[in-house]
C-alpha cells in the first residue's frame, strides 16, 4: 500500500525542499545531480537530436554571417546615413505640413486626423469634444473630425495612452484598438495595445467602460480600479482588481515599473520610451531572466546603471534615434 499516492507525495516532498532553498542552494544541489549522473537516463530520439542541432546551428552560425555582412554594409554607406539623418530631421516638419495641408484640402470627404508619436516622444492630444488623450511613445491615434462634429465620438488607436474622456451620456465614446473595442461614457482609463505584445490591457481609473473583444461573446464591464487583460491569441479575458494604481499607468509619473518581467521586454520598453537601441549582444544571455523594479523615464544613464548593476553587464547604446 506504500505505493499509493507516491508521485503526489514525491512532488510534495520536492516542493517543500525547494521552498526551503534559495536559488544558490538549489543550484548546488542540481549541480551535484548533474555531475553524479543522478537522474534517469533517457534517449533523445535521433530525429529530435538532428532537428535541434539544425535549429541551433542555423541560429548561431547564420547570425554570425549576418553580423559580418551588416558591418561591411555599414562602412560603405556613409552617404546613405547622411540622407537618413536629414530625413529624420525633416520628418516633424513634414508631418506638421502634411497634416495642415490634409486638413485644408479635404473638404467634403471624411478627414482622418492621425497623430503619431515617435519613440522617446510623448504628447497630449485634445479631441474636438474636449477629451484628452495623453499618448505615450511609439503610438498612433486617429479620428475623423467630421464624425466628432456629428456627435459620433470614435477613435482608432495603437500603442499606449491614458484617456480622460469628457462625460456625455448621450454620445458614447468608442476606442477601437486591434481586437478590442472600449465603449466609454465619461471616464479616465489607460489602454495598452501594441502589435508585438500578446495582451491588450485596459485599466480603468474612474467611471465605467464596456469592453468588446473579438471572439468573445460577452461584453465586459469594468469598474474603477479594475484592469482587463485580453489574450489576443487564446481570445481570453482576465479581470484583475488593483488598488487604483497599476504599473500600466506608471508612465504618467515618469516611471517605468516592472514586475517580474523578462529582461528582453524590460529593455524593449526602455528602448521605446527613450528612443534608443541597445546592443543585443550585451544582454542576450540574460534575456529570459526576470526583472522587478522601478526606473526613471527621464534619466537614461541612471537606468543603464541600474540594469548594469543588477546583471553585471555592460549596456551600450547603438544609436540615438
Amino acid at each position: 500500500m506504500e505505493k499509493k499516492y507516491s508521485n503526489f507525495d514525491k512532488l510534495e516532498r520536492e516542493r517543500r525542499r525547494a521552498a526551503e532553498m534559495n536559488d544558490e542552494e538549489l543550484a548546488q544541489l542540481l549541480q551535484q545531480e548533474w555531475e553524479n549522473n543522478d537522474f534517469p537516463e533517457l534517449i533523445l530520439p535521433a530525429d529530435d537530436k538532428e532537428q535541434l542541432y539544425a535549429d541551433i546551428s542555423s541560429k548561431i552560425f547564420d547570425n554570425e554571417e549576418n553580423n559580418y555582412l551588416h558591418s561591411v554594409h555599414e562602412r560603405k554607406s556613409l552617404l546613405w546615413k547622411m540622407v537618413k539623418y536629414a530625413a529624420i530631421l525633416l520628418m516633424p516638419l513634414l508631418a506638421v505640413a502634411s497634416f495642415y495641408l490634409y486638413e485644408k484640402s479635404n473638404h467634403g470627404t471624411e478627414q482622418m486626423i492621425v497623430v503619431q508619436t515617435d519613440r522617446g516622444e510623448r504628447i497630449t492630444v485634445t479631441l474636438p469634444d474636449g477629451s484628452e488623450v495623453y499618448l505615450n511613445s511609439a503610438s498612433v491615434l486617429s479620428y475623423s473630425s467630421e464624425s466628432f462634429s456629428e456627435g459620433k465620438r470614435e477613435v482608432k488607436f495603437e500603442g499606449e495612452a491614458f484617456f480622460t474622456v469628457t462625460s456625455d451620456p448621450t454620445h458614447p465614446f468608442l476606442v477601437k484598438t486591434g481586437e478590442v473595442n472600449v465603449n466609454v461614457i465619461g471616464t479616465e482609463f489607460n489602454v495598452f495595445s501594441r502589435k508585438n505584445v500578446e495582451d491588450i490591457s485596459v485599466f480603468l481609473r474612474k467611471g465605467t467602460v464596456e469592453i468588446h473583444c473579438e471572439g468573445v461573446a460577452d461584453v465586459i464591464k469594468l469598474k474603477p480600479s479594475q484592469k482587463a487583460i485580453f489574450d489576443k491569441q487564446n481570445k481570453e479575458i482576465e479581470i484583475i482588481n488593483t488598488d487604483n494604481y497599476d504599473n500600466d499607468i506608471s508612465w504618467l509619473n515618469n516611471e517605468l515599473v516592472f514586475n517580474n518581467e523578462p529582461l528582453e521586454e524590460v529593455i524593449n520598453k526602455i528602448e521605446i520610451s527613450y528612443g534608443v537601441d541597445f546592443d543585443t549582444q550585451n544582454y542576450s544571455h540574460f534575456s529570459k531572466d526576470r526583472f522587478t523594479g522601478t526606473v526613471p523615464m527621464d534619466d537614461l544613464s541612471k537606468v543603464i546603471d541600474i540594469i548594469e548593476d543588477v546583471y553585471e553587464i555592460k549596456l551600450t547604446v547603438k544609436n540615438k534615434k
Binding site: 507516491s6 533523445l44 541551433i56
Partner: protein, 198 residues
C-alpha cells in the same frame, strides 16, 4: 574547416571551440546532448520544455565559448551557463497545478494497474487544455480561476463582478459539462470529480 579531435582531457576540443570551429561545436553537442536532455527532462518532465532549454544552453555555449577556462571541464561549464534556466524550469514545474493533477492521475493509474499505460505530462497538458477550451467563456473563466488560480468563490465573484451564487452555479455547470464531454476519458473524470469535492 579545421578538423577536430576528441582527446581524453578535451583540451583540443575546447581550444578548437574557442577558435570558432563548428566541427568541434558539433562534436560537443553530440557528446552532451543526450545526457543534458536526460538531466533537464528530470527537472521539467516535459519534452517540449526540455528541448527549448537544450537549444538555449547550446546557443549560450557558442556565444560564451571564449570564456571557457581550460582548467574547468566542459561538463561544469555547461551547467554554469544553463544554471538559471534549470532552476526556473524546475521551480515552475513544482509550483504548477497541472503537474499536481498529473501526479494524481499517475498515482491513480498505478493503483488500479489499468491496462493502458500512462500518458506523458506533455500529452496530459494538451488534453486538459482541449477539455477546458470546450467550455463556454464564462464557465471556463470561472473554472480556471477556481482551479488554476486557486481563488475562492467569493473572490471570483468580486473579481468578475458577479454574485457568489452565480459563481457557484456556473462552476458546477462548467464542471458538469467537462464531465459530460470527457465522460469517456477515465482519468479526466477523476480530476473533475476531485474538483467537485473541493
Amino acid at each position: 574547416m579545421k578538423e577536430c579531435i576528441i582527446d581524453s582531457d578535451h583540451k583540443e576540443l575546447i581550444s578548437g571551440l574557442k577558435k570558432g570551429s563548428q566541427n568541434c561545436f558539433k562534436l560537443i553537442y553530440d557528446m552532451y546532448a543526450n545526457r543534458l536532455y536526460s538531466f533537464v527532462y528530470n527537472l521539467t518532465k516535459s519534452k517540449e520544455d526540455s528541448l527549448d532549454i537544450l537549444q538555449e544552453v547550446f546557443e549560450r555555449l557558442w556565444d560564451n565559448r571564449k570564456k571557457i577556462s581550460d582548467e574547468k571541464s566542459l561538463e561544469s561549464f555547461l551547467f554554469v551557463i544553463g544554471k538559471n534556466l534549470f532552476i526556473s524550469a524546475y521551480r515552475k514545474r513544482l509550483s504548477s497545478q497541472k503537474y499536481e493533477d498529473y501526479t494524481e492521475y499517475i498515482d491513480r493509474q498505478e493503483e488500479y494497474k489499468t491496462a493502458s499505460s500512462a500518458i506523458e505530462y506533455d500529452e496530459f497538458k494538451k488534453i486538459l487544455n482541449i477539455a477546458l477550451n470546450s467550455l463556454p467563456f464564462r464557465q471556463r473563466q470561472i473554472v480556471w480561476l477556481s482551479k488554476y488560480k486557486g481563488l475562492k468563490n467569493s473572490k471570483i465573484a468580486e473579481t468578475l463582478n458577479l454574485s457568489e451564487q452565480t459563481v457557484k452555479n456556473q462552476l458546477s455547470l462548467g464542471l458538469k459539462t467537462l464531465r459530460d464531454v470527457l465522460g469517456e476519458t477515465y482519468f479526466l473524470f477523476f480530476i473533475i470529480s476531485h474538483l467537485l469535492i473541493q
